[in-house]
């Protein structure tokens, strides 16, 4: 497995990187941790003529508490997310999900920006960020915009990102008091990607659920909010029965596009999605207190 030929650039600033992307627009790909892009290049499923390696740019790897929320540099690795006390305290599900991506080698290289930009249908992070809410900061040579995470994942391996844009930051909002979070994953035995993964962020106030964001990955062609599940939870006391009913609708949004492969049939995926939605919501509710 050998990639086809490409030119390699190692810019040292975001400006330089975005200039390169503009100059080689259509041909160039950003290289972050390389753990999705390089396997695809080796299989010659991707044959970019130019690689713009953003790994050498200072200042893209950070976790900062800002205005109540947290901002994360796009080159922050899974390992950094998993072990960060800020992430553990503010978004335990993100720390937990990051710790369960693949294996240590992948976690040492793979980045939050790469994971979102790649939008793998079985990626963990897209579902987690969807459940937290927030936005993705995308920069070109001339401009910068915030893309709401709810509008970021567009389709299979497709996002709202343009091919001259670089993700520089992910902005996460502060979670309200009384919010509990959880990520529950059933992994594919070979790659450890999610066959299904469910992220739940649940706010409970005075015994009732005042807000709920639940997102599912692995089951369909992209990470998706389970809005029907959320609707069932909101405004109710989170009893076993309510959670069970909500979880049973977790696969509803992806019903028509369920993945099917040698590891899990569509039917089994739908079943696992419900089971893990139940686990995630229950844990999140328990954490919400």
């Amino acid at each position: 497995m050998v990639t086809s030929n490409f030119d390699y650039f190692a810019p040292t600033s975001v400006d330089e990187a975005t200039s390169l992307l503009s100059r080689y627009r259509g041909e160039a790909k950003v290289l972050a941790g390389g753990h999705s892009l390089i396997p695809m290049m080796k299989l010659r499923l991707a044959e970019p003529g130019v690689l713009v390696d953003i790994g050498g740019i200072d200042g893209l790897s950070y976790i900062k508490e800002e205005g109540g929320g947290v901002s994360i540099g796009s080159m922050t690795t899974y390992r950094e997310l998993a072990t960060s006390s800020v992430i553990q305290a503010n978004y335990p599900l993100l720390a937990d999900a990051s710790a369960r991506v693949a294996d240590l080698q992948v976690r040492n290289r793979g980045t939050i920006g790469g994971s979102l930009a790649h939008s793998d249908p079985a990626g963990d992070i897209p579902a987690v960020i969807l459940a937290i809410g927030g936005s993705v900061v995308a920069r070109t040579r001339r401009s910068s915009r915030d893309i709401n995470i709810d509008r970021f994942q567009v389709d299979l391996l497709t996002t709202a990102l343009r091919d001259n844009e670089i993700i520089t930051e992910i902005k996460l909002p502060a979670l309200a008091a009384g919010t509990g979070t959880a990520y529950s994953k059933f992994h594919q035995p070979a790659s450890h990607y999610a066959i299904t993964g469910v992220a739940a962020v649940v706010t409970v106030s005075g015994g009732t659920c005042t807000d709920a964001r639940v997102a599912v990955t692995g089951a369909g062609d992209k990470a998706t909010r389970a809005r029907r599940t959320e609707r069932i939870l909101k405004g109710k006391e989170l009893t076993q029965a309510v959670i069970r009913r909500a979880a049973s609708r977790a696969a509803a949004e992806v019903e028509d596009s369920l993945n099917e492969d040698i590891h899990a049939s569509a039917e089994y995926r739908a079943h696992l999605t419900q089971v893990h939605a139940g686990y995630a919501i229950e844990q999140a509710a328990a954490a919400a207190g």
Binding site: N5, R44, F186, S191, H263, Y268, V275
Partner: protein, 795 residues
């Protein structure tokens, strides 16, 4: 390090080198002027080659030459078959296909370039025009009329029909008290994953006409012989070197196309050439394992007595017959169908079938895991059918203990074993009664626990050559050794088997040390270079100690005899009164008359005072051919928990009590057992090669082929019983494959046990979460339907 003893856990002397990156593998071989080769492989399961356009590849940067199968047809010959069966079909197996490709990965052309990258880039530019032909991948379907045909000379794709048996199964089941239980059991195809993939460097010496092949193989001597037979290259001009080899599991036990092609291409371009297999390439071009579809029935009585087993097996051969493929699903499988039981009636038919898949050959255990799985699964299945405990049924049918040969129904002679004693020890360690109580309590809390047992026996220590030859072996299966003591009393030995992870350098040195009293660090163990020593057969079939160790032992006895005679002469004592202990010759009752073996070795070279007729020097060779195979056996017990919600299986406990005869190095044997069990668990729970109907491999990489990982295993609890083997002078058996053989039935029996109360009776491997979940759903569904039917009948 001091003098080692037999039975001591000497630490592996090769490990510091291997784990600090100082090993020397094929890819570490860098010769001056070395070019690189890449293969162009078929992307289809079955297709006719209409034409090949190499022009773009030839013009690509760095390319030295491009050869197609047609270009090299004459020189390459055909790959050999090393085991004959009656009426075996042997369709030509060209190393580079030139008319038809018959499996995904079949090589059609080879590119030689200055660098590996250039060779790969150019290979992608070779344009092969194919006419796609219908393909077949399922061995049973391939035998049906109208199925796509792979080879004209093999109608219905049948490569061979073979049978074995004993007693009269048909007659036995006429007894009205006999209950017959039938299952269809699939033993899925596996893909070997040695850490080091295959690779070869071919170095052609134009001046002498010699070829040296550095290759990652388990059988350097056989590669030399077979390469020479296939290509007509004079054998004395062929040298094969197996440097450090990073695993094989049986998959490096053949002469492969790439070895032949590299040798011939090196001669063409007059430069050394290197090929290193990528992992993806390995998935399609290195032989696969298992792939059986089997109709099996077991027959017995309500009291638990088993009267026989009947097997009708479709064994997938893949597209061609790989070197030892005919042996694996026949003798190594059929002869083992009695297990550790009396099993008075056995009937076994095997159909070896060609399909559009990668050739199938030996994979750790090779035939024996498939047999043990059938027998042990069916014995448990039978126990379930008659409502008895699987341990009780096993005990009732087990062979009595024996020390020196017991002929069984298939006609082979087990060497030694105490099957019930071994079982009892395992049950005691495991505390079976307590487990059953725990299991009931857990079930009340909604937890599904199951226990599985496998009481296995296997045939290894390949092999008495005359027996093997009468069964079809194309080569002798003895082993050899050379022991040389240097004038300083240090030793260099050359062994005919070469390791690919087993630790030969340690165990063989340990044997020398314990026999001659020389410290381990004074002993150099050489292997794997055909120009360095005498012929040897290779490392497979758990034979290195049972056959190779015995050959070494015999050389050591010769060294002992000669040094004893020389020492007696030098000590001016009657040999009768000269003792040898811990490396020292002494004269009985005379305290100061001693000589060390090092001093004696020095005298053998000085030759100043040799006994009359004694030749100078100190070097001995032995060739050992065993009288019988060796037959390790044992009991493995496994506990699993099945998750109610998802069907996920977790192995919670694993107890293995094995009988490997005498054990030279317990630590190394434990390591072999750990690895073997891990591999067996992998087959039971996760591994599976999956082809589409048209011959595409869906499990084509480690992203989809689920090798087990460390988090799937509990700490294994190992113990042993010891029945020394009478088949060799050191009483050893062989421990390389046993774990793999026992583990998959132990795990599967545990999975079924955990959900048997729901009505589940059998499930094929791997027991993936989905399969287990479905089995539970189906069983519950069936119960519901039954109850509904019963209700409607009542009303």
């Amino acid at each position: 390090m001091a003098v080692a003893t037999f039975g001591e856990s000497v630490k592996r002397t090769e490990d510091p080198r291997l784990i600090t990156g100082r090993g020397k593998y094929v890819d570490d071989v860098r010769l001056s002027g070395m070019a690189h080769i890449a293969f162009v492989r078929s992307q289809y399961g079955h297709a006719r080659i209409k034409s090949i356009d190499t022009s773009a590849a030839v013009d690509s940067p760095g390319v030295i030459a491009v050869f197609t199968g047609a270009d090299l047809q004459e020189e390459l010959g055909g790959l050999p078959v090393g085991w004959m069966l009656p009426d075996l079909k042997q369709p030509a197996h060209p190393p580079l296909a030139f008319e038809t490709v018959r499996y995904l990965g079949d090589a059609v052309a080879v590119v030689v370039a200055d660098t590996a990258y250039q060779a790969n880039d150019a290979a992608a530019l070779v344009n092969v025009d194919y006419e796609i032909l219908p393909a077949i991948v399922n061995a049973e379907d391939a035998t049906k009329d109208g199925a796509p045909l792979l080879h004209e000379e093999a109608p219905n794709n049948i490569g061979f029909d073979w049978e074995v048996g004993g007693g009269d199964y048909g007659e036995a089941i006429k007894d009205p008290d006999v209950i017959v239980v039938k299952e269809r059991i699939v033993n899925q195809r596996l893909i070997p994953n040695s850490m080091e993939t295959r690779g070869v460097v071919a170095d052609y010496d134009a001046g002498k006409g010699n070829i040296t092949l550095y290759t990652s193989t388990q059988i350097p001597h056989l590669v030399k012989l077979l390469f020479s037979l296939v290509t007509g290259w004079p054998e004395q001009k062929v040298r094969v070197i197996a440097p450090d080899v990073g695993g094989g599991f049986g998959s490096k036990l053949y002469l492969y196309a790439e070895e032949v092609v590299a040798g011939i291409v090196a001669r063409h371009v007059q430069r050394p050439v290197k090929w290193i297999e990528s992992r993806s390439e390995a998935y399609v071009s290195t032989a696969h394992g298992r792939d059986h579809i089997c109709d099996v029935e077991i027959a017995g009585k309500q009291d638990g007595e088993i009267v026989g087993i009947k097997v009708d097996l479709y064994a997938n051969l893949g597209a061609y017959i790989s070197t030892f493929a005919p042996l694996i699903p026949t003798y190594l499988f059929g002869l083992m169908l009695g297990g550790v039981y009396k099993m008075p009636n056995i009937e076994c038919k095997v159909h070896g079938v060609f399909t559009n898949t990668t050739p199938v050959d030996a994979y750790r255990g090779a035939g024996r895991p498939e047999a043990a799985y059938l027998v042990e699964r069916m014995v448990s299945r039978f126990a379930q059918e008659i409502g008895r405990d699987p341990i009780v049924v096993r005990r009732k049918n087990m062979l009595q203990a024996h020390k020196n040969g017991r002929e069984v129904t298939t006609g082979v002679m087990y060497d030694s074993g105490d099957y019930k004693g071994n079982l009892n020890k395992a049950l005691e360690i495991f505390d079976y009664r307590q487990f059953r109580a725990d299991q009931r309590a857990a079930r009340r809390e909604g937890k599904l626990l199951g226990v599985g047992i496998a009481a296995y026996i296997e045939i290894c220590g390949m092999a008495p050559s005359a027996v093997a030859s009468s069964l079809g072996a194309g080569a002798g299966l003895w082993e050899s050794s050379n022991v040389r003591l240097h004038p300083t009393g240090k030793a260099t030995i050359y062994i005919g088997t070469s390791p690919h992870g087993q630790g030969h350098e340690t165990t063989m040195a340990q044997l020398v040390s314990s026999e001659l009293g020389i410290p381990v660090e004074d002993i150099e163990v050489l292997h794997g270079d055909t120009d360095m020593g005498q012929f040897g057969t290779g490392t497979f079939g758990s034979r290195s100690i049972a056959v190779g160790g015995a050959a070494l032992f015999n050389s050591l006895q010769k060294v002992k005899a000669k040094t004893h005679r020389l020492a007696s002469h030098l000590l001016e004592a009657d040999p009768k009164f000269v003792t040898f202990n811990n490396g020292t010759f002494a004269v009985e009752d005379i305290a100061d008359k001693t000589l060390s073996i090092q001093e004696v070795a020095g005298q053998a070279y000085a030759a100043a005072n040799l006994p009359p007729g004694m030749e100078p020097g100190l070097e001995e060779v032995s060739f050992f051919d065993p009288q019988n195979f060796a037959w390790p056996n044992g009991t493995h017990l496994c506990v699993v928990e099945v998750d109610q919600d998802t069907g996920k299986v977790e192995v919670q406990r694993y107890v293995a009590v094995d009988d490997f005869g005498n054990v030279l190095n317990p630590m190394i044997v434990d390591g072999m057992t750990h690895g073997g069990v891990a591999q067996g668990i992998g087959q039971a729970l996760s591994e599976a090669a999956v082809y589409t109907d048209d011959g595409q491999l869906l499990s084509g990489s480690l992203m989809d082929y689920a090798l087990p990982s460390a988090d799937m295993f509990p700490m294994m609890e190992l113990d042993r019983t010891v029945s020394p083997s009478p088949s060799n002078p050191i009483g050893v058996k062989g421990a390389g494959e046993a774990g793999t053989i026992a583990a998959s039935p132990a795990v599967m029996n545990a999975v079924i046990d955990a959900i048997a109360h729901l009505g589940v009776k059998h499930m094929d491997m791997p027991a993936t979460s989905e399969k287990v979940w479905r089995a539970m759903q189906d069983a519950k569904e069936a119960r519901r339907a039954e109850r509904a039917a019963a209700r409607s009948q009542r009303s």
